[in-house]
C-alpha cells in the first residue's frame, strides 16, 4: 500500500490544509512509513469483536432542560481576529 503525492494532496484538501511542495514530499514519505506499521493490525481476526469508541460505558447523559449561563456576545468575540458589531468577519463569501 503506497500513498501517492496526489492522494496526499487530496487528503490535505479534505483536512483544509495547504501544504508546500517540500511538506507534501516529506509527508508522503512519513505517511507511507507509518501506514506500513498500521498493516500489522490485519494479522488479528476481529470479525467477532465489537468496536470500542469509549472506554467507559456512559450512555444517554441527560440534564434538566433549563437555560444556564453562557458567554456574552462580547466574550465570544473577544478573541476574534476580526469582528464587527456582533459578528465574526471573514472574507467575502457571496459574489456580488
Amino acid at each position: 500500500m503506497r500513498l501517492s503525492k496526489a492522494e496526499v494532496e487530496h487528503v490535505a484538501w479534505l483536512a483544509r490544509l495547504e501544504l508546500s511542495d517540500e511538506e507534501k514530499q516529506r509527508l508522503t514519505g512519513h505517511l507511507n512509513e507509518i501506514m506500513v506499521h498500521f498493516e500489522k493490525l490485519q494479522q488479528l481476526d476481529t470479525n467477532e469483536v465489537a468496536p470500542t469508541s469509549h472506554s467507559i460505558p456512559v450512555q444517554n447523559v441527560y440534564r434538566e432542560d433549563v437555560v444556564g449561563q453562557c458567554l456574552s456576545a462580547d466574550q465570544a468575540l473577544s478573541n476574534a481576529p476580526e469582528a464587527r458589531d456582533d459578528y465574526f468577519v471573514v472574507p467575502q463569501v457571496v459574489e456580488t
Partner: protein, 472 residues
C-alpha cells in the same frame, strides 16, 4: 505549615517565584508566568488564615497548569502558533476547582504543540530542558509541568495524558505522575487532542501530594458529559504503608520492545521490594500489547483531525492575512499556524477516516481497542495491580529523535495501552541510570486509584528515590 503560620502563603509564592527567576533561563518550563496574580491569590489565603477560617490542604500552594487547560483571562496557547494570542473567557473545570480550593496558580507550562509529542521539543515556542541534565529532554507532552515540579519552580502541577503525556515526563524528571481512570476528571476546558483518550492528572513531588491534588480535581462535572457520576473517595486515606497479600502481575510484553536492561532491572528490583513487604508477584503474558502502538496511532490522530477542525482563523487564534476567499483563509491559516507534527497527525487522521479506508484502519483499531480492554479485564481478575517500566529508556538527548518519527513514538510504548483501556496508572521514581531518573508504572482496575496509590505510597515509604533532587 501554612496553617501553623510557620510560613505564609505569600512567602511561599515569593520563594517559588524567586526560584523561577533563578533557574527558568536554563529549564524553560513556563510559557506564561502570572507572578502578580499569584501573590494576590496567596495574600487572600493568608487573610483567610488570619481570620481563622478553615482552609483546604491545597490553599496557598503554588501550582503550575499545563498550557492546554483554559485559564480565564490568562493566555492559553497549547504551545501552538495557531493559539498564540488566545485568552479564554472561562476556566477549565479543573482550574476552577483548584482556584476554589485556594491553590495559587503560578503560570502555564510548556508542552508539545497540542500535546502531540514525547519530548516537549514540538512546542512552537521553545524546548523545555530536563532539570537533571539540561542537554536531555524532559519528556512530553507535559514536559513543562514535569520540569517545573522537578526544578522546584512549582510545588504541584497539572498535566494531561493522552498516550502517556503525564507518566512519561514524570518518569524522565524523577517525579510522581498519575493518569486517573478515564472519566474521573472533567475535561471541560482542556483543549481537546483525542477526546476518548485524554485525561487530566496530577504531577507532584510525592504520592501524598498526588492524593491531595486528586481529591480536588475528581468528580462529576455537568459540563463534561463523559465525566462519571461515581462517589469520589478521600484518596489520602488510601496512603497506607501496607501491601500484604496484594497480587502483583508483571506483564512480560512491557519488558520487550526496546526496554533497556537497566530500566527492567530497576523496575524488577522495585517489584521484589514490594514482595519483601508482603506482596506476591507473578509474570503474565498479554500478547495483544504488541498491537497497541499502531492502534493508538490510528485512533489518536483520527480524533485529533476532527478536534482540530475548529482552528480555522474565524473565531480565535491566528489568521492568515491576504486571503481572497474563506476556503483559502482556512487552508492558509492552518498551514501557517500548525507545526509539522500536528500537520502529520491531521493528515493521518483524515486519511484513516476517509471513505474507503475507514473500515480497514479506524474501525479495525476500534476493535483492537476492545481486545486491549479485555486483556486488562482478564488480568485484573487475578491481579490487584500490574507493574511495568514507565518508559523503555531514560530521558534522551534534545534533538536526538526529532527526525525519526517512529523512534520517538516508541517512547510511549509502555504508557499507551493504559489510555486505550481507560484504566488508571501512576509513575513513581524507582532508580537512576547515568544520573537520570527511572520510572515504575503501576496500573490498576478502572476506578480503583486507591490500590495503586497504596502500592505507590508503600514503595515510596521504603525507598529514597523521590527525595533526590537535580542540581541546578
Amino acid at each position: 505549615m501554612l496553617k501553623a503560620r510557620k510560613v505564609s502563603s505569600v512567602e511561599l509564592a515569593r520563594a517559588v517565584l524567586e526560584r523561577i527567576s533563578a533557574v527558568e533561563d536554563k529549564v524553560k518550563a513556563y510559557v506564561t508566568i502570572v507572578g502578580e496574580s499569584a501573590l494576590e491569590a496567596a495574600n487572600a489565603v493568608d487573610e483567610k488564615i488570619a481570620r481563622g477560617e478553615e482552609i483546604s490542604p491545597l490553599a496557598g500552594i503554588p501550582t503550575a497548569i499545563k498550557d492546554n487547560m483554559c485559564t480565564a483571562g490568562v493566555l492559553t496557547t497549547c504551545s501552538s502558533k495557531i493559539l498564540y494570542n488566545y485568552i479564554p473567557p472561562y476556566s477549565a473545570t479543573v482550574v476552577k476547582r483548584l482556584i476554589d480550593s485556594g491553590a495559587v496558580v503560578i503560570g502555564k507550562t510548556n508542552l508539545d504543540e497540542f500535546a502531540m509529542g514525547s519530548s516537549t521539543e514540538n512546542s512552537a515556542f521553545f524546548a523545555t530542558r530536563n532539570p537533571w541534565n539540561l542537554s536531555k529532554v524532559p519528556g512530553g507532552s507535559s514536559g513543562g509541568s514535569a520540569a517545573a515540579v522537578s526544578a522546584d519552580e512549582a510545588i504541584l502541577a497539572l498535566g494531561s495524558d493522552t498516550g502517556g503525556s503525564i507518566r512519561q515526563p514524570a518518569s524522565f524528571c524523577g517525579i510522581v505522575g498519575m493518569k486517573p481512570t478515564y472519566g474521573r476528571v472533567s475535561r471541560y476546558g482542556l483543549v481537546a487532542f483525542a477526546s476518548s483518550l485524554d485525561q487530566i492528572g496530577p504531577m507532584t513531588k510525592d504520592v501524598t501530594d498526588t492524593a491531595i491534588l486528586l481529591n480536588a480535581i475528581c468528580g462529576k462535572d455537568p459540563l463534561d458529559s463523559t465525566s462519571v457520576d461515581l462517589p469520589v473517595p478521600d484518596f489520602t486515606k488510601a496512603l497506607r504503608n501496607d501491601v500484604k497479600g496484594l497480587k502483583i502481575g508483571v506483564p512480560k510484553e512491557f519488558f520487550a520492545q526496546g526496554v533497556r536492561s537497566e530500566i527492567a532491572d530497576a523496575v524488577m528490583k522495585g517489584v521484589e521490594l514490594l514482595c519483601s513487604l508482603g506482596a506476591d508477584f507473578r509474570e503474565l503474558s498479554m500478547p495483544i500489547m504488541e498491537y497497541t502502538l499502531p492502534t493508538y496511532y490510528i485512533l489518536a490522530p483520527a480524533e485529533a483531525s476532527s478536534n482540530l477542525a475548529r482552528y480555522d482563523g474565524v473565531r480565535y487564534g491566528y489568521r492568515s492575512e491576504h486571503s481572497p476567499d474563506v476556503l483559502t483563509m482556512f487552508a492558509k491559516t492552518r498551514q501557517e499556524g500548525f507545526g509539522a507534527e500536528v500537520k502529520q497527525r491531521i493528515m493521518i487522521g483524515t486519511y484513516v477516516l476517509s471513505a474507503g479506508y475507514y473500515d480497514a484502519y479506524y474501525l479495525k483499531a476500534q476493535k483492537v481497542r476492545t481486545l486491549v480492554r479485555q486483556a486488562y479485564d482478564e488480568a485484573f481478575k487475578e491481579f490487584d495491580v500490574l507493574i511495568s517500566p514507565t518508559s523503555p529508556t531514560v530521558a534522551f538527548g534534545i534533538g536526538e529523535k526529532v527526525d525519526d518519527p517512529l523512534e520517538m513514538k516508541l517512547a510511549d510504548v509502555c504508557t499507551i495501552p493504559i489510555n486505550l483501556a481507560g484504566i488508571p496508572a501512576i509513575s513513581v521514581p524507582c532508580g537512576f541510570s547515568e544520573g537520570l531518573p527511572i520510572g515504575m508504572q503501576i496500573m490498576g482496575r478502572p476506578f480503583d486509584e486507591e490500590t495503586i496509590l497504596r502500592v505507590a505510597y508503600t514503595f515510596e515509604q521504603n525507598t529514597e528515590y523521590h527525595t533526590k533532587k537535580p542540581l541546578l
